[in-house]
Symmetry: C2
Subunit: 881 residues, 2 copies
C-alpha cells in the first residue's frame, strides 16, 4: 500500500496549500512557481506533524522514505550531494506553521556539515575560515536546538577562545582558531549527550526534523499560541532547503524587508540587512544592521532586482509582504515571503492606499485591519504641550505611549501586572522566553536590536508601545537598575516611553486623547457604508456623549444614572433619601435630587440632539451609597473603648443598623434594578420626572430629543407593566404641567436568564430590549465577575475549560444561546422590536460579530471603542455575506 | 333580544353546574332533584357576578326581571307571597362560591320582613315573640351586611334592653321587649344611613343581592382566596331560598353535621345542633351546641330521617358530606350539602374506608388527600413520656401539637411571625377577620365555640393545631393576659397546645417524631403502585437515612458533604486545610479528614444498602468555614487599643488577611462547587477516596452499595471531564489498594442556567443529572434567596408579580422551561440518562407534579417529606393520565 504523501517539493506546492505546507512552505513554493530565485527545497507537511503527535512522537510510516527520495531531487537541482565531501549539499531546516509564529520554533542552518564535508565546503568556497565558521555555527545550533544543550555553554567556549586570541568580535577569529572552537564544541556535545556528534548528514536531518516537530509544543510556542489564539492542533510543517550563504564575503549578505513601512504604512521598502552574515544574525538583534536603502548604493543591481521582486510579490499577494533574502556572491535569493505584520496605523494606511492603488476593494480593506489593535490608537498619547524630561532616545519600534514602574524581568512584570500595577519592561534584548513579560507590560524598552528585533516585532503585533536599540542605557540586572548619562533608574522608578518617537522620559507623562487620522476616518466611512449593525455608546455625561458622537456613535445605548448619584455633592442627599425614616423625609430628599438629575439629562439629550438616548433607571443596591459596615464597626468599637462622644456613638450605631439592614449576602442577585422601583416607586418616579422635564424644556427650544426609558433587571412582564404605568403617568403629568407634547419609549434590559426565557411575554410590554450581557453572563454562568476574575477564572482559561474570559468575549454557547432565544421570542411577538446590547461585549469584535449574526439592531460601547465597533460591525457583515 | 339566563330555579340545576351555580347552589339543586326535603329556591349565577364586576358593579341587563319572575315560582311552590302581610314569603340570601369559602361572604336571613309582614309571620306562627325575634335579627343582619352599619351598634342597643329587662340571655326577652328593640334598630338605621329601613321586600332583596356580590371582594374574602390559592375572577353565585325556621319553639332546631368525623375520619355522624335557634347561631360559636347524637333521643324520627339522608348523600356524592339542616316544627329541611373539610388524618381514613366500602377506587382515594396537609402529621407530636403541666383542657379541634409565645391579636401574631417567632394565638373566638393571625400562628387556642366554630374549621383546613372552647381560660385583652385556675399567663409567655387531646400546657413541651398510621401506610402503598416517579431523600447522616428509608425513600438523591465539614470537632481541621501555607500542610489536614469522611459515608451507605446514594462533593465557598471578618476586626481593634498580646494580634491579623482574601462579593456566584475541585483538586480527591474506601469495605462485607458521585455547579462539560478523571483515577487506585472491585457512577447537578442550556454536551460526560432547583432558581431569576425573602419577595407576591414564592413552588415558566430544555437535550444524547431533582421543590406537591410531567426519574426531599412526595407523585400520575 502506498503511504500518504508527507513530503512536497517546492515545485509541487502552491500559496493556497498553507494548511498542508505551512505559511513559509506554501509561499516558497509559490515564489518558486512564479519564477523567483528561490533555493530548491522540500516541505514535510503539517499532517506529518499532527500524525507525529497522535502516534506518541513517532514519524509517520513512509515519511522517512519520502524525505530521502525528495532529497535526491534536491541533489539533482543543485548538482551537489548530501554528505559528499567534494561537493556537499548543505540545507537549512526550518519550521513553518500555518499561522506565522515568528521566532517561536526551531531552525537549524548548515545541516549536512561534518568533519569531511567541511573540507569540501572550504574547497568549494575557497575560504577555510568561512567553512569552519559555518561548521561551528552548525554545531552550536544543532547542539542547542536538536540535542538540547544550553546555548550559554557554547558561548562560554567561544568567549574563552576570543579572550585567548585577544579579539572582541567573532569575525576576528581565523580558520585555525575556529577549528579549535569546533574541536571544543564536539567535545562539549560528547560530554553532554554521552555520544559523539552525529557525522551522518541523514541522521542529522532526521534528528533536526524531530526537534522541529517537538518545538511545536515547546513552552514558549504554547504561550504564544495562547496569547494569539492559535489552535494547538494545527501542527507545523518543516522546510528543508538548500543553503545559500550570506557570509561568504563582502559581496554577500542577508536581510529582511517589508514592502511598506510596517510602522507607518508608507509605501517604500523598509528593512535591514547585514553584509557577510547569516540570516539569524539580523533577526536576533545581536549586530545592529544597515537600513535597506543603503543597499541601493552598495549593490545597485541587487537592490534593483530586489525592488522589482518586492513590487511583483505585493501585486501577486495583494498585500504588504515581509520578505527574507540572502545575497550569495552578488546573487539574490528569496528565502521567505509572507503577509507582513504591521501596526494598526500602518494597517489602515496600507489598506486605504491599496484601495486607491486599485489593488484591493473596500471590503478587503476593511478586513485588513484587526479592530482589537486599534485600541491603543484610540487611547492616550503624550500631551504635545507637556514638558518632557527625555533621558534617552531609541528606535521608535511600536507606536503609542505608556508609563509605569520599571522592571527588569518578565516574571516580575507578570507578577506586578497581576497585582494591578502598570510596568515598563526593560531588557537588553528580548527573546521568545519573554513573551509573558511583554504581554504583561504597558510598554517595552530594549538597549539592543533594531526595528525588526524580537521585541519590536512582538510589540507591534500586540499593539504595545516599544522603544528598541536604546544603546545609551546600560542595564545592570544584578543591581536591578540602569544608568543613562549619569542618571540611575532603579527598579520601581516610574518611566514613560513613546514608541512613536523613541523617547524615554522620566516619570509619568501627561497624555491626551487621540483623534482619528485621515486613513482611519476614511476606513470608518467605508465601514459605515458596509455595516448593517448600528453603533451606539455607553455614556453618563455630556462630555462622554460629545466624544462618542465625534467617534461616530449613533446614539446612546446606556446612560447609568447611578454614577450621577455617586457625585460627591449628591451622595449626602442620596444617603438622606435612603436613611429617611418617613415618606416625607424621603420625598424631601428626592425633591432635592430632582433638579440635579434633570440637569444631567438635559446636558446629555442636548449633546445627542436628534439621536436616541437610552436612560436606565436606578440599578445598583442602595447600600452601595452607604458607608462600609466594617469601618463603622471599628469606629464604634474605638468610640466605646476610648469613651468617645455618646451622641456620636449612638448616631454611628443607628447608621450601622441601617447599613446592616440593607446589606446583602449576594448584592448582585439582591434588592436592585427594578426591584427598587417596585419597593420604592418614588425613586423611579423622580427619575422619570427628571427625564421628562428635561425633554419638555428641550422640545420647547426646538431641539429633537429621542428618549428611551429603560427598566433594568426585569424577570417578568408584570414588573415592566407596573413600572411602565408609573413612567407613563409621570410623562402625562409633565406634559400637562409643561404644555409640551413629546414622544418617548419604554423598554427593558434583558440581563437575567428568566427574562430571555420569557422574552415573548416581556416583549409585549416593552418597546425595546437591550441585552445587559455583563449581568447576563454572571447569572447564566453563575459567575460573580468580581470574584471569578480574582479567584478562579484564570484556572478556567489556563485549563482550557473556557476558551476565553466570558466577561471579555461573549460566551456564544451559553449566554449567546439565551440571546438568540430572546431575539426569536421577542421578534416573534413584535417583528420590529428594537434590540441592542450595552454590556462591555458591545465593544469587543468577536462579540460584535455574534450580535450581527443574531440580528441585533445595534451594539453600544464606551466612547473610545465606538470606532472599533464600527469597523468590527463592517467586518462581521463582510465575513458573513 | 332575549337576555342571558342569569337565574336558575333549584329544579333547573345539577351538581355538575358548580361553576355556574356555585357549590351551594349546585348541591341544593341536586338535592332537590333527588327528592330530598329542600326549601324551594333560586340561584343567581356566578356569571351574573362576573358581569357585575366587569360593568362597574351594575347588575347585568335582564337579571332583575329574571329574579322577579323566578321569585313568583317560589311563591307558587310555597303558597306564600313576597310582601303579603297575611301569608308572607320570607327568604334567605346566601352567597355560594364555586370553591367553598366558609364564613367569608355575606348572608341575610328572614328577608321579606317589614312592619306589615312581621304581623303575618306572628299570626302564621302563632308566636309574636318569634316573629319579633325574626324581625330584629333581620334588621340587625340587613343593617350590618347590606347597609354597612357596625354590628356592635346593634349589640349595644340589645344590651341596654337586656339590662333594662334584667335578663342575661336573648331568649329571655318577650315579644314586647323585642318590639322595643326593633323600634330602636330602625331608628339606628335611619340615623346611620339617612334613610328609613326599606319596607319593600323586593328592594330589600336587590339590596341584599348587591351586598353579596360586593362581599366577593371584601378584604377578608381576598385574604382567604390568597391563602387558599383560589382565583379572584370566579365570582360568587347567590342563593335565594324560602326560609324555614329552627327557632319556632322546642320542636325546632338547626344544626350542622358531617357524615363522618372530620377529625378522625371515623364512620359516624358527627355534628352539633341547637334547639330553637337559627342557623348562624351554631356556626358563629356563640352558644355551645349539643352533639348530634343527642338528637336521637330528643327527636328520634327526625334523627332517623337525617341519618338516612346522610347515607344517601354520601353514596350519591361518593364523599364525606358537610350538611346544614333545620328542623321546623318536627320537619327536617336540608339547607346545604358539600364535600366536608377534614383533617389530613381523617382524609386518609375516609379515603381508605371508602375504598374498602367499595365507594371509590384507589386512584380516587389517592386524590382525596391534600399532600400539603400531611405535613404536620409528619412532623412532631408531644412526647408521650413527657411530664406535662396541663393548665386547662378544651376541645380537640384540629390535631397536632405546637408551642410558642402567647399573643392575643392577629396583627401581633403576624408581626412576630414575620420576625421569625413562633406564636400561639389566643382569642375568645375567632372571626374571618383573624385569618392572617391564624395563618401566622403555630396553633390557635379559643375560650369559646365548638368543633365547628370558625377557628376549628379554618385551623383544620390549614392543618394547624387548634384547641377550641377552652372555657376555663379568662382572657383580658386590655391587660394582654389570661387567667386560668389562679394562674396568670401573660403575652410573651410560652405555651404548648395539643390539638389532638385539647390540652393546654405550660412551657415548650418536648415533642417526638411521628410514625405513619395504618391508613397512611395503606394509602402510600397504593400511591407506590400508581406513581411512576421515584422518591429519594436528601440525607446527610445515617440517622436521617434510616428515618427516610422507614418513610419509603428509594435511595438518597443528595448527601451534602459540607455539613460534615461543619461538625464541631472537624472545623479546626477544615480550617487548617484552608489556611495551609504549603501543599504539605494542606495534605496533612486532608489526611486527618479522610478517615472521618470515610466513616460518614460508610454509615450512610450501610443504612441505604441496596439503594442508590448520591454524594455531592464539597459545594460551599471555603470562607464559610472561617470566622467572620467583622468580628475579627473588632477583636483586632480591641487588642490594639487595649495594648493586648502582640503575638495574638499578629495571628488575628494574619487570619483576617486570609478571611479577607477568601471573602467574596457574591459568594453564591463565587468560588464554590466544582470550581473548588478545579482549583484545589486535592479536596475532591480526598472525598472521592473516602467514598470509595467506604464502598470497598462494604462490598468486601457483602453489602450492596450503589454510589453515585456528584459534581456540583457544573457549567461546562470540560469541568466534568476533568474532575471525572480525578474521581475515576481515585476509584482505580482504591480498587487496586483494596483488591475489591466495585461499581459507581459520576454525574452532575444542573443548577446553573448554562448547564441546562448545554445539557446535551454535559450529558455526554455525565451518568446522571440532578436538578439543584434552589440554585437554579437563584440564577435563573437573579434572586439571592437570602436577600429576596427578607427584602422584596413579599412585594412581588403581594403585587402578584409572581404568583408564588419561587423558592417554595417551582417557577414552571422560567426555571421549569430550563429544566424541560435540559431533559430534552440530555435525553437526546443519552435516552436513558437518570434525571432527578434535589432542590427543596422535590418535596412540594405542585413542583412534584411538574417533575412528573417533564419526565424526571425521581424527586429527592427531606426525610419527613418523603411520604408527601410519594402521594404527590401518585396524584401527578392520576391527574395526568
Amino acid at each position: 500500500m502506498a503511504s500518504k504523501k508527507w513530503v512536497y517539493t517546492f515545485a509541487e506546492g502552491r500559496a493556497d496549500m498553507k494548511d498542508l505546507l505551512g505559511g513559509k512552505g506554501a509561499n516558497l513554493a509559490e515564489m518558486t512557481n512564479i519564477g523567483l530565485p528561490v533555493p530548491p527545497g522540500i516541505t514535510v507537511t503539517t499532517e506529518a506533524c499532527i500524525q507525529f503527535y497522535s502516534e506518541d512522537r513517532q514519524f509517520p510510516p513512509g515519511m522517512e522514505e519520502q524525505v530521502r527520495e525528495t532529497m535526491s531531487t534536491l541533489e539533482e537541482k543543485t548538482g551537489k550531494q548530501f554528505g559528499n565531501p567534494d561537493n556537499p549539499l548543505l540545507v537549512s531546516v526550518r519550521s513553518g506553521a500555518v499561522i506565522s509564529m515568528p521566532g517561536m520554533m526551531d531552525t537549524v542552518l548548515n545541516l549536512g556539515l561534518n568533519d569531511d564535508t567541511v573540507r569540501g565546503l572550504a574547497k568549494e568556497s575557497g575560504d577555510d575560515r568561512f567553512a569552519m565558521d559555518c561548521y561551528r555555527r552548525f554545531l552550536n545550533m544543532f547542539g542547542d536546538v536538536v540535542l538540547g544543550i544550553d546555548h550559554d555553554k557554547f558561548e562560554r567556549i567561544l568567549s574563552i577562545h576570543k579572550d585567548k586570541a585577544e579579539v572582541q568580535y567573532d569575525n576576528q577569529l581565523d580558520a585555525e582558531q575556529w577549528q579549535a572552537v569546533v574541536v571544543e564544541y564536539k567535545k562539549l556535545i560528547q560530554r553532554e549527550t554521552g555520544e559523539p556528534f552525529p557525522q551522518d548528514p541523514m541522521e542529522q536531518l532526521f534528528k533536526a526534523l524531530y526537534a522541529v516537530f517537538n518545538s511545536w509544543n515547546s513552552d514558549r510556542a504554547i504561550v504564544y499560541r495562547k496569547v494569539n489564539k492559535i489552535p494547538d492542533d494545527l501542527g507545523t510543517a518543516v522546510n528543508i532547503q538548500a543553503m545559500v550563504f550570506g557570509n561568504l564575503g563582502n559581496d554577500c549578505g542577508t536581510g529582511v524587508a517589508f514592502t511598506r513601512d510596517p510602522s507607518t504604512g508608507t509605501r517604500e521598502l523598509y528593512g535591514e540587512y547585514l553584509i557577510n552574515a547569516q540570516g539569524e544574525d539580523v533577526v536576533a538583534g545581536i549586530r545592529t544592521p544597515q537600513p535597506i536603502a543603503t543597499l541601493k548604493n552598495e549593490m545597485p543591481a541587487v537592490y534593483e532586482e530586489f525592488d522589482r521582486i518586492c513590487g511583483l510579490l505585493e501585486k501577486h499577494y495583494r498585500n504588504m509582504q515581509d520578505i527574507e533574502f540572502t545575497i550569495e556572491r552578488g546573487k539574490l535569493f528569496m528565502l521567505q515571503t509572507r503577509n507582513g505584520k504591521r501596526t494598526a496605523q500602518a494597517a489602515m494606511k496600507i489598506a486605504v492606499d491599496m484601495v486607491n492603488e486599485g489593488l484591493i476593494n473596500k471590503e478587503e480593506a476593511i478586513m485588513r485591519v484587526e479592530p482589537a489593535h486599534l485600541d491603543h490608537l484610540l487611547h492616550r498619547r503624550i500631551d504635545p504641550d507637556a514638558k518632557l524630561d527625555v533621558i534617552a532616545t531609541g528606535l521608535p519600534a511600536s507606536p503609542g505611549a505608556a508609563g509605569g514602574m520599571v522592571v527588569f524581568s518578565s516574571d516580575e512584570a507578570e507578577k506586578l501586572a497581576q497585582e494591578g500595577r502598570k510596568v515598563i519592561l526593560v531588557r537588553t534584548e528580548t527573546t521568545p522566553d519573554d513573551i509573558h513579560g511583554i504581554v504583561a507590560a504597558q510598554g517595552i524598552l530594549t538597549s539592543r536590536g533594531g526595528m525588526t528585533s524580537h521585541a519590536a516585532v512582538v510589540a507591534r503585533g500586540m499593539g504595545k508601545p516599544c522603544v528598541c536599540g536604546c544603546e545609551a542605557i546600560r542595564i545592570d540586572y544584578d543591581k536591578e537598575l540602569f544608568s543613562v548619562n549619569g542618571l540611575v533608574i532603579k527598579k520601581g522608578d516610574i518611566l514613560s516611553i513613546d514608541g512613536s518617537t523613541g523617547q524615554v522620559i522620566m516619570g509619568q507623562v501627561p497624555m491626551i486623547d487621540p483623534e482619528l487620522g485621515t486613513e482611519f476616518r476614511k476606513l470608518l466611512i467605508w465601514a459605515d457604508e458596509i455595516r448593517t449593525l448600528g453603533v451606539r455608546t455607553n455614556a453618563d455625561t455630556p462630555q462622554d456623549s460629545i466624544k462618542a458622537r465625534e467617534f461616530g456613535a449613533e446614539g446612546i445605548g446606556l446612560t447609568r444614572t447611578e454614577h450621577m448619584f455617586m457625585a460627591q455633592e449628591r451622595l449626602p442627599i442620596v444617603q438622606e433619601m435612603i436613611l429617611a425614616g418617613t415618606d416625607e423625609e424621603r420625598d424631601d430628599a428626592l425633591a432635592k435630587l430632582l433638579p440635579m438629575q434633570e440637569e444631567d439629562f438635559y446636558g446629555i439629550f442636548k449633546a445627542m440632539e436628534g439621536l436616541p438616548v437610552t436612560i436606565r433607571l436606578l440599578d445598583p443596591p442602595l447600600h452601595e451609597f452607604l458607608p462600609n459596615a466594617e469601618e463603622l464597626m471599628v469606629e464604634i468599637t474605638t468610640l466605646k473603648l476610648t469613651g468617645g462622644d455618646v451622641v456620636e456613638l449612638q448616631q454611628k450605631e443607628e447608621l450601622l443598623r441601617k447599613v446592616r439592614s440593607l446589606s446583602e449576602f449576594n448584592p448582585m442577585l439582591g434588592h436592585r434594578g427594578c426591584r427598587l422601583g417596585i419597593t420604592f416607586p418614588a425613586v423611579y418616579v423622580m427619575q422619570a420626572r427628571a427625564i421628562f422635564q428635561a425633554v419638555a424644556r428641550l422640545v420647547q427650544d426646538g431641539c429633537k430629543v429621542i428618549p428611551e426609558v429603560e427598566i433594568p433587571l426585569v424577570i417578568e412582564v408584570k414588573e415592566l407593566t407596573y413600572l411602565r404605568s408609573l413612567v407613563e403617568q409621570t410623562a402625562t403629568d409633565v406634559m400637562k404641567e409643561s404644555g409640551v407634547a413629546f414622544e418617548y419609549t419604554v423598554g427593558t434590559m434583558i440581563e437575567v436568564p428568566r427574562a430571555a426565557l420569557l422574552a415573548d411575554e416581556i416583549a409585549a410590554g416593552a418597546d425595546f430590549f437591550s441585552f445587559g450581557t455583563n449581568d447576563l453572563t454572571q447569572t447564566t454562568l453563575g459567575f460573580s465577575r468580581d470574584d471569578a476574575e480574582g479567584k478562579f477564572l484564570q484556572h478556567y482559561t489556563e485549563k482550557k475549560i473556557l476558551s476565553d474570559n466570558p466577561f471579555a468575549v461573549l460566551d456564544r454557547k451559553g449566554v449567546g444561546k439565551l440571546m438568540e432565544m430572546a431575539v426569536k421570542l421577542g421578534r416573534g411577538v413584535k417583528p420590529d422590536l428594537l434590540i441592542g446590547i450595552c454590556g462591555e461585549h458591545g465593544g469587543e469584535p468577536s462579540s460584535i460579530e455574534f450580535c450581527h449574526l443574531v440580528g441585533l439592531d445595534y451594539v453600544s460601547c464606551s466612547p473610545f471603542r465606538v470606532p472599533i465597533a464600527r469597523l468590527a460591525a463592517a467586518q462581521a457583515k463582510v465575513k458573513n455575506s
